[in-house]
Symmetry: C2
Subunit: 453 residues, 2 copies
């Protein structure tokens, strides 16, 4: 049997996510992100298409590196305003039965004790359909509003992240035994207190002596996503992640990430098949190639280049507004925090990108690849990309909300199903069971499983 193509939708509780200026498109409804029905309608569409889940990005700051202000981001609603992603999960879960939810929560800005409770609550309310995208955060503007002068140094964040994970595993896995809650009306025992263990965590950053406040949820630890692209990030992902989200403009770059992650996973004793890797991808489709090209042309007419440069400047920490449109963007090995820029310059060492060319690429689909075509053409591209890179599936972005996803579900999903590479129905059980076909909980050799009694 052919390797299936797994599908996630990539979204964010904001207007412009990975396409800048597209809110001006006459059929785009992304300005309705504030309203419940925007999300329930998306969730229904994705479940109809048997998507694994919706992956919700987040930032807790603004893109203010470009020209030193957030003006360009505000003018084009580039990830600002941005509402909290966590609160969308109960809403979307309420109208679906199988769709999963990968929610981005930056661990440097919330104490693990209340955070662990929030995730357990979501896992209970969704019957085990929740995932957590572990992010250490990357915007200085976020750190500043949390009372810091800037974000922590990159590697320090990962040190903190390791301890944060330890606290979470102790709470989720190690505290309540499976049979702690007995609900024995006759004996008058709801919870057997001898089976609930204070975690007694005393670390460099966190002191958590007590018990987790929640009884065990279906998955205990939510399904763990990670998206680190740095060396330290990949090591963290190899150790903790069950799903990894990668992005890069060419198959060669994405393949290098995939190979790296799987090799690092092996080096920490995991089976590389226990990590599902999703690549960001954007597809504009229509019944005929000409119609698809027309759609694409219409979208291009609405791209905001300043918005794209605001995104890219925020991602890299480099103010691209200081350069002229036709300047070639130089990349130096000495520069820190430039992995996003590197992904362009590394693609083809002989190719030079101007500021404008980068903006045009990023403006539709961010740093990922774009395909425009019939369902057959899109399916071919996805299969070829998968074959070239070794990814398990795709994190699909929207260009026009919700048209991009509706088109994909109506046109490409049936084509993929015809080819036998996309599920026609969901596997039973929790999100973890649907994706891996094993049990609902973390299992050895994943480090989290070692905390369970």
């Amino acid at each position: 049997m052919q390797k299936p193509i797994r599908l996630n939708a990539f979204a964010m509780n904001c207007v412009g996510h990975q396409a800048t200026g597209l809110w001006r498109h006459p059929r785009d409804n992304s300005a309705r992100y504030r309203h419940a029905d925007y999300w329930t309608s998306l969730a229904r569409t994705l479940e109809r298409g048997c998507f694994d889940g919706v992956f919700l990005a987040d930032v807790l700051g603004v893109y203010d590196v470009f020209r030193g202000t957030a003006d360009a981001a505000l003018i084009d609603a580039v990830q600002v305003p941005v509402n909290d992603p966590l609160l969308l999960v109960p809403l979307m879960a309420g109208v679906t039965s199988n769709l999963g939810f990968g929610v981005t929560c930056a661990l440097t800005y919330e104490h693990p004790y209340p955070f662990a409770r929030r995730m357990s609550t979501l896992d209970h309310l969704t019957d085990g359909r929740v995932g957590w995208n572990i992010v250490t955060s990357y915007l200085d503007s976020a750190a500043r509003n949390m009372g810091l002068t800037r974000q922590m140094a990159h590697d320090d964040r990962y040190e903190l992240a390791e301890e944060y994970m330890e606290v979470c595993y102790k709470l989720w896995e190690g505290c309540w035994e499976d049979d702690a809650v007995v609900r024995d009306r006759a004996r008058g025992v709801f919870t057997d207190p001898t089976k609930v263990h204070p975690i007694a965590h005393h670390g460099a950053n966190y002191q958590v002596p007590g018990i987790h406040l929640c009884e065990p949820s279906p998955q205990r630890t939510p399904l763990l996503y990670q998206a680190g692209a740095s060396a330290r990030g990949k090591t963290f992902a190899a150790r903790h992640a069950e799903c990894v989200f990668v992005n890069g403009p060419t198959p060669a770059i994405v393949k290098s990430y995939v190979d790296d992650i799987r090799a690092t996973a092996v080096s920490v004793g995991r089976d590389p098949a226990d990590i599902l890797i999703y690549a960001m991808f954007t597809a504009i489709t229509a019944p005929t190639q000409a119609e698809a090209e027309d759609k694409y042309a219409e979208c291009r007419g609405h791209v905001s280049l300043d918005g794209a440069l605001a995104l890219m400047s925020g991602w890299t920490g480099v103010d691209l507004g200081a350069l002229a449109e036709n300047d070639v963007v130089e990349y130096s090995e000495r520069d820190a925090n430039r992995s996003a820029l590197e992904s362009f310059t590394k693609a083809d060492p002989t190719r030079r990108w101007t500021v404008r060319e980068i903006a045009e690429w990023v403006g539709i689909g961010g740093r990922g690849p774009l395909a425009v075509g019939t369902p057959v053409e899109i399916a071919d591209r996805l299969q070829a990309f998968q074959a070239e890179t070794g990814v398990d599936g795709f994190n699909l972005t929207y260009v026009v909300a919700h048209e991009t996803f509706e088109d994909f579900v109506a046109l490409v999903v049936p084509e993929l199903q015809r080819r036998g590479v996309h599920q026609r129905e969901y596997r039973a059980g929790t999100l973890r069971e649907k994706l891996f076909g094993k049990g609902p909980k973390l299992s050895a050799p994943h480090v989290g499983a070692s905390y369970r009694r």
Copy 2:
């Protein structure tokens, strides 16, 4: 026209809230608190009864003062396990159109920057039906798990709370002008950046230089609830609260709170009518008095006295497990943190309460009064209590989930409506408009309104 009786339901994302051991009752379904349908079904019932809202309590710790352990609380599921309340709001809002939500969030444990975004997100998703019960937190067990050795001193918490409110008002009211979001497709301007103002907050506890991440929500500041009973708590409530929740076992005690809050409100320049006061109240009802008495007797048979003492010991910080059942509980003016105990001893200075008597009282309906009877009897009691105390309405607790609320809605609500003291339909608009009949936003002389441009 007679003064209406306003109704809230008092609930918590846990099993036993204000009735201990009742999870053993054969018709009680509170063990289903983990599941979405438990909450959607409650929300529908309350909206059918034209309740103003559901008031969600919360603790971020366990009741471990009684005998120095959390065992009694765990055995009877006394507010532990306890899931996050915030995540219930989108769920319940999704199946209702008018019900309001008062959510308890302790401000000492979350930074105001992400918190303000969570509340704005909820206000958007619910079309302006969200309220915030401002709590400074009271359990040492919670503080310890946040890395502190104990909670902050009581008055220091209120100092911090004042600055916390200032940051929130600046974000909610002062940052985005009403017409900042223009969504002008032709001009290509989603947000006019000249109308979004960094709040530049530099205080003793918080540094928040930047902008709020959310565009203005229907109410901007969520409806503000408070429940402080201490002198400092009442001053805080008089300054910030729009709804106050009080509790005490007798009308005399409740009246003293009500008079105090209204007098303090006047002293800070507010109209006492701009604060709605809800008293905790428990009603067990049935078509006939005999049936109601039977129901009550059945409930009493399931009360856990240890569970009640675990609650009371946690509330007061006094280990009632160190006393014998028949010991009289002495109250000393010198003892700190004993307002909950004081409410019993102050009720009637000549009355002495034994440990067992307090447990029996608290075991059904916490520190509030209990009424058992026909709908006519309950309605009489509510009206008399309102007349004696000056409260605007009641925060009704459940004894048997959801039977207590279902009975009330089926039997007492029609009786109150017949008497013309309970609404037959909701007023239009946001929660604030439904309750006060004025605009959706805070208005002068409320301190929050002064932050709006």
